[in-house]
């Protein structure tokens, strides 16, 4: 390892060769402002097109200012990050960017979270001296994501996420010069593109160019309608991140306050998607065991590995890219979509109300869930099983609008029966969590023995692709895990080629799993936030009295009273789905 010595702002620095000036400066506490640059440390995610020029610095002996994010350090280099020449250049760059940016901060969905806005504040910009043409582009609204390209500053972060990390390929920079925009092929709407609605473009967009479709008004209207019983379900990852919106330290669990807030918002029943996650384990775990035992008995037709199917971004991805493998994923619906029919076909009947008079709202860390609940196969006579899905961010907005002092709320408990859950349901929020939960149940059902240690630490972590072999009482079970769709693609290519060594694979579309979902509070590239959320999820699991899905007493009761057993006819009807081939979906109508 070669060490380079240089001076930054008169201070000596020693860093590894090939380090950028930006990182070298950061190592001694100098924060050079950036805009297009983006990094999720330790996750292999970096964007540094060197395009915005906000990070320029002066390097002694160089005629031009150098972008700190793309310029490597050199021995003896003398860097100045804030002399008058640098400050003036930086300000001019920012003023030019702002001259082609709509001054709509008052009504912009990103206000308060916008990186362009904070840099303008940091620089103390009070007027924009440049006036000229402003780009105008139509607003594109898909079922989950809104593209408002007039607010795009061409940082290319979304493109990096969509292409390099997720390998979805929905977005690309097109045209050139002033006409350049980021768009799907042929400037079609996002809905026509191979977009999976994973929302990772939204989670990294520095401005309001990419945002979620906001359904919180629909929720307010439903809550105001006296003829409706409004039921809410909250996904596991929400409780580990919602607190951030109220200034709490990342990783603070706010389960109890969240329940209290939802009750104060007026939801009649506050339930938990974790309950449905336990149900998912019953169905998906049984399906896995069914395939595994048939395979062990020599059935050559059985499809292994089985793939988890609870992530709607992932489902969209394989429908577009791997439709030939449509019989490989589990047919189990996602927890959100299992909750819907259980609420409307089981719980509504218990209450003696018509399903049309029940509104099911889900709070999700996810934008693909918005699309998922609008899918036709998840409706009965036009009535969706889940009416509206809102993000963690939208929930925070609702709580603030309702004058609820979130921080001082007491902890309250979920309602029964659909609010009772186990630790297995909670860990669905982390990469590796679904398969860990499934193994807790599958182990006991397969071996008939009690699992002494419920934690499968070998399945945890943040590495892009992980694998482990678990010992099911003598039977080695090979588990694969991928988070991020680009990593998923690698495992899927192996499955397609017949080279996969796994019996079961868990896939989550978002880096980190649901805790890093496109609907979560913005992390602004701080991967520590994701790690703290993940740790919080495992803490919640560790604190639960019951940690295996099949031991959830309300799940046991649900099967006894209503479903029969896992994979029963009723279960198949209500809790399982099928997949579509979307590969032929072309941009060209005709």
């Amino acid at each position: 390892m070669e060490i380079v010595k240089l001076m930054i702002d008169g201070k000596p620095v020693e860093v590894e060769k090939n380090t950028t000036i930006l990182k070298a400066a950061k190592s001694i506490g100098i924060d050079i402002p950036t805009l297009c640059y983006f990094q999720l440390k330790d996750m292999g995610i970096e964007n540094r097109p060197g395009g915005c020029r906000i990070c320029v610095v002066e390097v002694a002996g160089r005629r031009n200012l150098a972008p700190a994010c793309t310029t490597a350090v050199a021995p003896g280099m003398e860097v100045n990050t804030h002399n008058i020449r640098v400050l003036n250049a930086r300000r001019t760059v920012l003023e030019l960017i702002l001259s082609d940016h709509p001054a709509e901060c008052l009504t912009c969905a990103k206000s308060g979270n916008c990186e362009l806005q904070s840099i303008a504040q940091q620089f103390g910009v009070r007027e924009i001296p440049y006036q000229g043409a402003q780009s105008t582009y139509r607003k594109d609204t898909s079922p989950a994501i809104i593209r408002d390209i007039d607010k795009c500053i061409m940082c290319r972060r979304c493109e990096m996420m969509c292409n390099d990390v997720q390998t979805v390929g929905a977005l690309s920079a097109i045209n050139r010069g002033f006409m350049a925009v980021v768009a799907p092929a042929f400037e079609m709407n996002l809905e026509k593109s191979p977009c999976t609605y994973c929302g990772q473009c939204v989670s990294v967009c520095p401005t309001g160019a990419l945002t979620e479709v906001d359904h919180s008004r629909n929720v307010i209207n439903a809550l105001a309608d006296p003829t409706k019983t409004v039921v809410v379900q909250t996904a596991p990852a929400v409780r580990a991140a919602l607190g951030e919106e109220f200034g709490l330290e990342p990783g603070t669990l706010v389960t109890g306050k969240m329940v209290a807030a939802l009750r104060r918002l007026g939801f009649t029943y506050v339930f938990d998607t974790d309950f449905a996650a336990d149900l998912t384990i019953m169905e998906e775990g049984s399906e896995f065991l069914d395939r595994l035992t048939r395979y062990l008995k020599g059935d050559k037709k059985v499809k292994l590995p089985i793939l988890t199917s609870c992530c709607p971004g992932w489902v969209n991805f394989f429908e577009h890219n791997f439709p030939d493998l449509a019989d490989v994923p589990s047919t189990a619906k996602s927890p959100q979509q299992m909750f819907g029919p259980i609420a409307k076909e089981y719980f509504a009947k218990k209450l003696g109300i018509d399903r049309k008079n029940m509104i099911v709202v889900s709070i999700m860390p996810c934008l693909a869930k918005k699309y998922e609940c609008q899918r036709d196969e998840f409706k009965v006579n036009g009535d969706p099983d889940v009416n509206f899905s809102i993000s963690t961010r939208e929930l925070a907005q609702l709580i603030k609008q309702a004058n609820i002092d979130f921080i001082s709320l007491p902890d309250e408990d979920f309602d029964n029966p659909l609010g009772a859950s186990t630790g297995a349901g909670v860990i669905f929020g982390n990469t590796g969590g679904v398969i860990e939960a499934a193994c807790r149940t599958a182990y006991e059902l397969y071996t008939g023995k009690k699992l002494e240690k419920v934690e499968f630490n070998e399945l945890r972590g943040m590495e892009n692709i992980r694998h482990a072999t678990l010992d099911f009482d003598g039977l080695p079970v090979n588990i694969g895990i991928a988070h991020g769709l680009g990593n998923a693609r690698k495992l899927l290519d192996d499955v397609r080629a017949g080279n996969s060594e796994f019996h079961a694979i868990e896939i989550m579309a978002c880096p980190g799993g649901c805790i890093g979902g496109g609907g979560q509070p913005y992390h602004h590239g701080n991967s520590e936030i994701l790690k703290k959320r993940a740790a919080a999820i495992y803490r919640e699991d560790a604190g639960k009295p019951i940690r295996k899905s099949h031991e959830n007493p309300f799940i046991i009761e649900l099967y006894k009273e209503f479903l029969g057993k896992p994979l029963s006819e009723k279960s198949h009807h209500l809790l399982h789905t099928h997949y579509f081939d979307k590969s032929a979906a072309t941009f060209i109508e005709g």
Binding site: N175, A185, E589
Partner: protein, 159 residues
């Protein structure tokens, strides 16, 4: 966008071209060059085929096609007209000749007449500066063209 049926023979030729570049995504620009040579332009359907062959996203292919002005998604006319706007032609009045073509054909540069007969483009120097201003129709070169002569040139192809 209307759907276009691409000729099977030309598609085969294109696939051979991709193969000759080892279906390497790094050769996208070269493949697009050849594809435009074969088809005359790069319709959306063609870009989808190229994306598939080179295993890149259609959005990326479209991004490259729209970045370089050489690439076009509009079919060229039966008789592509190019007006040289190189220095020699320019100082001898090529711009007026261009204006006249635009007026008579009622199209802008880069467009094709609705009957598909003529398309209009500009180029820089065909190496015949002694004949400036120069106009090319297909492979045929016209020298010392004046705005008055434009109608006659068009008439040659309209009979």
């Amino acid at each position: 966008m209307a759907h276009i049926k691409l000729s099977e023979r030309k598609l085969q030729e294109l696939k051979e071209v991709c193969k000759s570049f080892n279906n390497d995504k790094g050769e996208l620009i070269n493949v697009l060059h050849k594809a435009q040579g074969i088809f005359g332009y790069l319709p959306a359907e063609l870009q989808e085929v190229i994306a598939k062959e080179l295993n890149v996203s259609v959005a990326h292919v479209y991004g490259v096609v729209t970045f370089y002005s050489f690439f076009t998604m509009t079919p060229k006319g039966e008789h592509p007209i190019s007006i040289c706007l190189g220095t020699a032609c320019y100082v001898r009045g090529a711009e007026k000749v261009l204006e006249e073509f635009k007026r008579v054909l009622n199209v802008q540069v880069g467009e094709t007449t609705p009957d598909g007969k003529f398309s209009l483009s500009c180029l820089r120097c065909v190496g015949a500066c002694g004949l400036a201003p120069v106009v090319m129709v297909g492979e045929k070169v016209y020298g010392r063209v004046s705005p008055d002569g434009v109608k006659d040139i068009i008439a040659e192809y309209n009979s």
